[in-house]
Amino acid sequence: MQEPENIDQMKQVLEAALLTAGQPLSLDDMLKLFAGRMERTTLRMLLDEIKQDWNEKTLELVQVATGYRFQAKPQFSEFIARLSPERQPKYSRAVMETLAIIAYRQPVTRGDIEQIRGVAVNQNVMRQLQERDWIDVVGQREVPGRPSLYATTKHFLDDLNLRSLDELPTMDDFEQTEIPL
């Protein structure tokens, strides 16, 4: 195929790449598709157009932390899920609370997590989150023992369909409300 010359051809190249990627494509990734013959602003515009084009279809183009990806519209998820009967196991409360502390208070040390939860951090909990590539070590706090500082990863944002941490529900919303028991 010739190098794309008009908007439609460029959009076709983009669509084909996005649909086959299976993971988000960053703007830089997509610029590579056009071997340097593409401006960032044009690319963004094309992506917006593709988003519009797919409005009435089964997939949608969304932007997450590491780039753009096509995904099934939410109403189809429950059907698709039936294809894989072994559902992803739920994380324990310990894991979710630890994740919440890291997400909202990052960067934090294990000590910080223990202080907030009032119990020792189970090594297994940290391992589960690290293996999922949801958290990683971003540095050490300059205090005796130089404890590791943990933060959430971009992959975590991708998996929750978020572009940045700002899109997490804000803590203020529920700081004072009561927890249903």
């Binding site: 739920k90 009032g118 927890i179």
Partner: protein, 261 residues
């Protein structure tokens, strides 16, 4: 069927006749019950919320009594799990006793001893809610299905381009290496037998009698060198420069310089 427990729990002055059903856990399921709480803060929050205590004005005596009742049971079953809980008991009792102490008038401005506990409880409660919110968010693979249309990645194997210059360069380096190899070969054969003969003779001169195998340092020497060494010994014997002796078959062979020769 509710358990008959010897616990007196008062809520706002009213005696609780029997444990509320949602608190009851059969004794053999105690482990499950312990793990239902994520720690002392979680248990305290549960008690506070369950009994509608005011978190900003916690009745310490009441809360501490209820808390201790839980921890006592816990201690029996799972001591190691109870450590964090015991620490909290100590903290609760400390707060309670500090509240009982009469405040000296000059430092009447002292903070409420409960302040730190309340702060921690509220922070924990916020995180707990954040965790449930996070858990409820749509997740890739569960609620979000990422498109991944099939694409056979065919990598065309392009033969690398070769110019005349590269070809010439390659030929030169082949020649260069070939020279090195031939040179090396010559050096080796020149070195070999005669030099080893002198080495062996020199050694026999200083050591007198040497066992045959002692002349072969197998760990250090390469195979070619061992062979050359052997040839050197044979050559020395042939020229009558050394004498080889052996007491009987398979016993060690000894080498000696042939002094008379």
């Amino acid at each position: 069927m509710l358990p008959q427990l010897n616990l007196e729990i008062k809520i706002k002055g009213e005696l609780l006749a029997e444990l509320p059903q949602d608190l009851y856990i059969p004794p053999d399921a105690l482990e499950v019950y312990l793990e239902a709480f994520e720690g002392p803060l979680d248990l305290l929050l549960y008690l506070i919320r369950k009994h509608n205590l005011d978190i900003l004005d916690i009745p310490m005596a009441q809360l501490t009594a209820q808390y201790m009742a839980y921890v006592e049971k816990m201690k029996v079953i799972k001591l190691e799990l109870a450590a964090d809980y015991l620490l909290m008991s100590a903290m609760l009792i400390e707060i309670k006793s500090r509240m009982l102490l009469p405040k000296p008038t000059e430092i009447a401005e002292e903070d409420d001893p409960r302040a730190e506990l309340v702060r921690r409880l509220m922070e924990y409660e916020a995180i707990k809610l954040a965790a449930t919110r996070l858990d409820a968010m749509p997740q890739v693979g569960v609620d979000i299905m990422v498109a991944a249309a099939y694409y056979q990645h065919i990598s065309e194997i392009k033969p690398p381009e070769v110019g005349l210059d590269e070809l010439v360069g390659a030929w030169r380096s082949v020649l260069k290496r070939a020279k090195l190899i031939t040179h090396h070969k010559i050096g080796k054969s020149e070195l070999s037998v005669r030099e080893h003969m002198s080495q062996i003779l020199r050694r026999l001169k200083t050591d007198g009698m040497v066992e045959f195998s002692a002349l072969f340092d197998q760990e250090v020497e390469v195979l070619a060198k061992l062979v050359v060494n052997f040839l050197a010994i044979l050559e020395l014997a042939k020229e009558g420069l050394i004498r080889m002796t052996q007491q009987q078959a398979f016993s060690p062979i000894y080498l000696q310089a042939n002094v008379s020769g």
